[in-house]
Symmetry: C2
Amino acid sequence: MTATTAASSSEIDALIQQFTWTADGLIPAIAQQHDTGEVLMLAWMNQESLRETLTSGRVVYWSRSRQQLWRKGDTSGQIQKLIECRVDCDRDCLLLLVDQIGVACHTGRRSCFYTALRDGKAEIIADVEIDPGKLYGA
Amino acid sequence: MTATTAASSSEIDALIQQFTWTADGLIPAIAQQHDTGEVLMLAWMNQESLRETLTSGRVVYWSRSRQQLWRKGDTSGQIQKLIECRVDCDRDCLLLLVDQIGVACHTGRRSCFYTALRDGKAEIIADVEIDPGKLYGA
């Protein structure tokens, strides 16, 4: 699908080894909608999830709360297609340019960053676009 | 300067207490150029740096390597003016909409995310805009 996915496993492994991983073996990943520039969320990846993301073209995180791979959208259908993966100067943070299907946030909002600090108060600045009950079959 | 900075210290303290801080007392903060949408960098804040950022209108991080407040731009002049601070649904990550003076990256590039993974290789996709020697007086 993308240039990234044309890489071989050994090439990807060599790249991944150069990154800086936390003591828990993780790296933070920012997801940004590739065409609008909207920052959607931040989540974490381990080496396995990054490898799968780069080879499959679909974003997979590591769920710290569930301690398992989190193939985003498996439950909700709100998957993220990888357009490009970038790494920062310290190689300890990823920027994922994605095409987000539907909404990124479990609250049914497009972005997880829907709360602004204004005048010393937390203000909700984005509407729910999809009923979370429909996303998770509640 | 901004609506955020009009808040009182007690209001800001009350907000900050609601956030989720790591065991080390930190929270990751993504800096995004407010008008272009470019993601510039990710760094970390402690409560003191966030409080100063919200009250002064200038972005201050916590340097994990130096274990001290990092008033971005003190050495290089490349400061970040805070336009708005947002927090995510889990309240464990910040999105800072900023006006970046000059460049965000210590390499002299506008963004720290100047390396793309393409065809299994790390490819530099942004030019150096300011000689790092000029930024740091080397």
